[in-house]
Symmetry: C2
């Protein structure tokens, strides 16, 4: 379907239909993002005036803590509050892209027929820089489509968690009892990125211990005056328990983000990263092929032979664009 939209090139019509809440138009726009379509420039220009409304919630945690179940339960709770919800499941390690992944349907089947919920899986093995390139643009599509809340769930591990946190207004870190070495095993990074911690599977042995450990580790962090203190909520996601409290904490965090000015700071930082990524990608494409030959390849060959060094070569490369 994305190929057809690509071919037809009717960007204004597509954006109009997406804004009117047509799920297929939203899906096509996200496909254009995934395909790194040349139309993206036009798409993003058309979306820009309609963005800035959605609250972006990053959901992260080790495999097995119940991320998918929690996401689904959170969607239910947000729908109860009358919010339009977008769900973006990002799998940086997956070679599969877009569209109708079986996984979505299985775990999100409760919401499959809800017209106020958009669900999308995205792989991120694009040419232009993966996660960092595609995710912000997909978020713009869902934002312009009128989502009040967008949940970004990362399926991967490691670096992607930190990347997702960088793209979210609110980062929710999930833990669960009985996950091997527990918190000690959780990378220190996890303790730095959370705005909200959820101890899922709270009916299992050890949940209180996880919360206690987490609380004492969070207490060690030095926070400036007026800083947000990440709360810890216990949930039993598959029974929907505790999700009301999660939504309340998300709302409370949003209010703090706005009153403290942090929302604006985070969004500006993200816009900076996004602009830079696009500019650098454009330059890389130019460097790769200047006047029909690759300037960069020739410089690289000279560095290999020791004729020049990387700094001098970088100067030469910059001269090709700064003229």
């Amino acid at each position: 379907m994305s190929r057809r939209a690509d071919a037809s090139g009717d960007v204004p019509g597509l954006v109009e239909r997406a804004r009117a809440g047509e799920a297929r138009a939203v899906a096509r726009l996200i496909s254009l993002v995934e395909d790194e379509s040349p139309l993206l420039r036009e798409v993003m220009a058309a979306l820009a005036p309609h963005t800035g409304h959605a609250q972006v919630i990053g959901i992260t945690g080790s495999p097995g803590v119940g991320k998918s179940t929690s996401t689904s339960a959170l969607v239910t709770e947000l729908r109860r509050a009358g919010k339009r919800v977008g769900v973006l499941a990002v799998d940086p390690s997956s070679p599969f892209s877009g569209g109708a992944l079986l996984g979505d349907r299985v775990r999100m089947q409760d919401h499959a027929l809800d017209r106020e919920v958009y669900i999308r899986s995205m792989a991120s093995r694009g040419h232009l820089g993966g996660l960092a390139w595609t995710t912000p643009q997909a978020l713009r599509v869902l934002d312009a489509a009128g989502c009040d809340v967008i949940l970004v769930e990362t399926v991967g591990v490691g670096q992607s968690e930190v990347e997702i946190a960088g793209m979210a207004d609110t980062t929710m870190v999930l833990l669960a009892p009985g996950m091997g070495d527990g918190i000690q095993a959780a990378k220190a990074g996890i303790l730095e990125i959370g705005d909200l911690y959820v101890v899922n599977k709270a009916d299992r042995d050890g949940a209180d211990q996880v919360r206690r450990d987490l609380r004492s580790m969070l207490a060690l962090a030095e926070r400036p005056e007026g800083a947000w203190k990440p709360p810890i909520v216990k949930t039993i996601a598959h029974q929907g328990q505790g999700l009301d409290e999660v939504v309340a904490e998300i709302d409370r965090h949003r209010a703090w983000l706005e009153s403290s000015g942090e929302l604006d700071r985070r969004r500006r930082r993200r816009a900076r990263d996004e602009i830079e990524a696009i500019a650098v990608t454009a330059l890389r494409q130019r460097w790769g092929d200047v006047h029909g030959r690759s300037e960069l390849d020739e410089l690289a060959a000279a560095v290999v032979t020791g004729e020049t060094d990387p700094y001098a070569a970088a100067d030469d490369l910059l001269d090709t664009v700064t003229g």
Copy 2:
């Protein structure tokens, strides 16, 4: 010490002493790399004519497979063959930098007094892009200092393994029996990056099973005609067993790299990456502060309010350097 070298600014003298094999001069040059010293430009220019000799071996594998022991045993074997050896232990997650880490001394104490062995730990939490920025420059220092072989051992996990593989002529992946789910648990990435696989702790139960599993998984990979087929070697590193075979396979891989033209291709690709990283960093610094105000900050603010979109903002940003 690095501060003093920095202050004195005697780069030609420092490079001369490093080339003559003075360990302290080598250490100072690597400190300049870690400190992202403004002298680096001059250092790299002075080193360039003396680089290109060393074979860079990346050593990677999950925690617990015996990377440090294997590295130390490999140094012993390489020294037996009369080679000058550099060891760079890179820990992308460490906030500690440089110099005399206790870890080095403990695990490398067999080689501490050998003047033909340089050992260095490097953290990579620099401002300019971590691992990708510092490691290639540290490799240039060790290369120019006359190392025949440089072992780059990554202490971290995840993305860093793939990054290290990108910087090495030969990537050695370590496995061991009894590591949880074994190969199944190893990320698919590991099976793509190895030029040489080592099953360490070969005296333990399950070593042959690991080798069989690995062999059948490697057999599934499609390789073009004439491509290198990664061999699998069994070792017991703490007894020094099998390391002679590892060195033989490293030599065989080097010969293949040269005869196939792949060595040159890999080195050019690395030089490309390095030049690009330096050029992009220089641009970022310019964008961050043009004429005393931040062009990028202003553009980011306009994107947040929806006044402009990231593509148009990127065009404006590029105009500031190409204008």
